[in-house]
Amino acid sequence: MSDDLGRELKELIIESLDLEDVTPEDIDDDEPLFVDGLGLDSIDALELGMQIQKKYNLKLDANNEANKQHFASVNALRRFIESQQAT
């Protein structure tokens, strides 16, 4: 099930950000999403944050640093979503 979530997240990232030449297979689970790896920037982050929040009904942190950790990679994001859904 977590693998499904991983794939779902990758599809969501590609779709919501309009990443035309990227397929889910191109995104590594532990690869940093921002700057180095996938090269997303702060505006992408905001857009992604909105989409993920809506889809999974999450409560984001008021602390931006914490959010930065949650959105560091696909795996980090998956852990964050699972922890929120568990509670």
Partner: protein, 570 residues
């Protein structure tokens, strides 16, 4: 310079408390002067006994009661004769925290030329009326010194430099009673004595003897301020020059505005309450004149703007002169008064024409909100007071201002029915975005000014042509609009022929930014915004309230819209 401090206590009928105050001072190991300001026989006897018991106490006796100012003057004379260089004045009634004496003296040792004053932090037991009275005094003192240097002029807990104070006492009649503390501080400041502050706790003694005489002292204080304001006028050029010497660095508009806006608004509102429009004008006009005199940067900005309007065939029909610039500044103060009037609910329907109102009501009827892009052309803040016309639309104004919560409290106080709130977006992150999105989905409107760059310069700005050359515009408002996927309207409120005219025009059903051409897209939207703003600025140039170099800080070439350091949470 030798530093020989002594304590100084003026005492008038505080026989009950003086013993306790003296006993708290013994361990400081300092000589102490007590000036008996014509106290009654009981207190006089207490003082005699204390002076006999403690050899570090010196008693100076005035034959009759002359007031605190006279007592301090006598103490300063006595100190000079004993060779002391500084006197630390303490009230006899025990309201000053004697534990802070070493901190005041340390400061005085560091800056022996300065007047070192306690800056009171009050316990909750201060009487309400006196608390408000203090703020009125602060503002008057700012006007009298043309500076914000004096943060509190009423706390008597101070270290006076003996030489400078003595000179002043001998050459000038200083207020002798409740007007003394403020009078001497302002006059020392005028003569070039720096004034520095040390925070200290102050207690209002419940059972204390208060010598405040409501009628006489208030009249005395009013008369003192009248004299000080008159005294300020001939000194104005010197005071302004002094201020300019101290700090002429370029200041970003947010900091410039923060300097006094909050207190100015507060004070204006209080005066408005009591004296109506003339009262508010009384305080705002001199402040604007002062701003005009002292702020060369703002004068240049105004002239440059008006020149461009003239060149583009706008309503400024001659090359701008000094008088035009002054009128431009004046318009600003008038605008503040109008704003207060509207916040107090005194602006009536017939004074306001609202074009496009129906579009907003229609959006609200559809159960969704929108973004209203505003500017600093005209008096958009006036709309805060127009609940009726806005049909109870809920408004959130997005600002870069950490005073937002305080200003919200002011709005609430002045108009409890207000449906408007300020939201501070300096720390814009995912959570802020999500909150705003929820508000729009709940049918609330978000107003955001799109003509001023965010506080951190050269970040998140995009160039757009405005009145002949490129100016930096913020990307933030357009990015927020794109994130929220909601309709965008432009909204202005200008005064035309004595009436206010609000214009709402449709700007975009949705702002979209393609990922590949995001910078170009942002530039497109910013340019469309700038074009609309330009047309309006040409029509009412005197209501352009961006008094800084609007075209300054050129936008650097590539990708400024996007932060190169990647996602860092905003």
């Amino acid at each position: 310079m030798v530093f020989q401090p002594a304590l100084l206590i003026p005492c008038y009928n505080h026989g009950d408390q003086i013993g306790a105050t003296v006993s708290r001072l013994a361990h400081h190991g300092l000589p102490c002067l007590i000036v008996d300001d014509g106290s009654d026989a009981t207190t006089a006897a207490v003082l005699d006994r204390l002076a006999a018991e403690h050899e570090w106490l010196t008693l100076v006796r005035l034959p009759e009661n002359r007031g605190k100012g006279a007592a301090v003057a006598a103490g300063v004379d006595a100190a000079a004769e004993s060779g002391w260089t500084h006197v630390l004045q303490i009230d006899a009634d025990g309201q000053h925290d004697t534990d802070d004496i070493p901190r005041l003296l340390d400061k005085a040792r560091d800056q022996p030329d300065a007047l070192v004053s306690g800056q009171p932090i009050y316990d909750d037991d201060i009487p309400r009326v006196r608390f408000y009275g203090r703020y009125l005094t602060h503002a008057l003192v700012w006007l009298e010194t043309l500076s914000f240097a004096i943060r509190d002029s009423m706390c008597g807990f101070r270290v006076y430099p003996v030489a400078a104070s003595r000179e002043l006492f001998h050459s000038h009649r200083i207020g002798r009673r409740m007007d003394f503390d403020t009078d001497i501080m302002v006059r020392l400041y005028w003569r070039g004595t720096p004034v520095v502050f040390v925070p200290t706790r102050v207690r209002y003694p419940r059972d204390g003897v208060s010598h405040f005489d409501m009628l006489g002292d208030n009249a005395r204080i009013a008369w003192m301020h009248a004299r000080l304001i008159c005294g300020m006028l001939p000194r104005a050029p010197l005071l302004v020059a002094r201020r300019l010497r101290r700090g002429s660095e370029k200041i970003h508009w947010t900091r410039q505005a923060e300097r006094g806006t909050y207190w100015l608004m507060w004070l204006g509102l209080q005066l408005y309450r009591v004296f109506g429009r003339p009262g508010a004008r009384l305080i705002l006009f001199p402040l604007v004149t002062w701003f005009w005199l002292s702020n060369a940067q703002a004068r240049r900005a105004s002239r440059d703007f008006l020149q461009r309007v003239y060149e583009h065939g706008g309503a400024q029909q001659r090359p701008p002169r000094a008088l035009d610039v002054y009128r431009h500044f004046f318009m600003f103060s008038d605008c503040i008064v109008d704003r207060l009037e509207s916040w107090r609910g005194r602006l009536r329907h017939e004074h306001v024409q609202f074009n496009g109102q129906q579009m907003l009501l229609d959006e609200a009827a559809r159960g969704r909100g929108a973004i209203l892009m505003t500017s600093h052309l005209g008096n958009i803040e006036l709309c805060r007071g127009l609940n009726d016309q806005l049909g109870n639309l809920r408004m959130n104004v997005l600002v870069y201002n950490h005073h937002a919560p305080r200003i919200n409290r002011i709005i609430e106080k002045s108009n409890p029915n207000s449906r408007l709130k300020l939201v501070d977006i300096r720390e814009f992150g995912m959570q802020t975005a999500a909150m705003l999105e929820q508000q729009v989905r709940d049918g609330e409107f978000l107003a955001i000014a799109a003509d001023r760059t965010p506080p951190s310069l050269n970040e998140n700005v995009v160039p757009a042509r405005f009145l002949g050359s490129e100016a930096p515009f913020p990307t933030g408002p357009f990015i927020i609009a794109a994130l929220l996927h909601c309709p965008v309207y432009l909204m202005t409120c200008v005064r035309v022929e004595g009436r206010y005219r609000i214009d709402v025009v449709h700007f975009a059903e949705e702002i979209t930014l393609s990922r590949k051409n995001r910078d170009a897209d942002l530039q497109y939207w910013a340019q469309r915004y700038a074009d609309d703003l330009e047309a309006r600025a040409l029509e009412t140039p005197m209501q352009w309230f961006n008094f800084y170099d609007f075209w300054g800080h050129p936008v650097t070439g590539d990708g400024t819209a996007r932060k190169q350091d990647g996602y860092n949470g905003d």
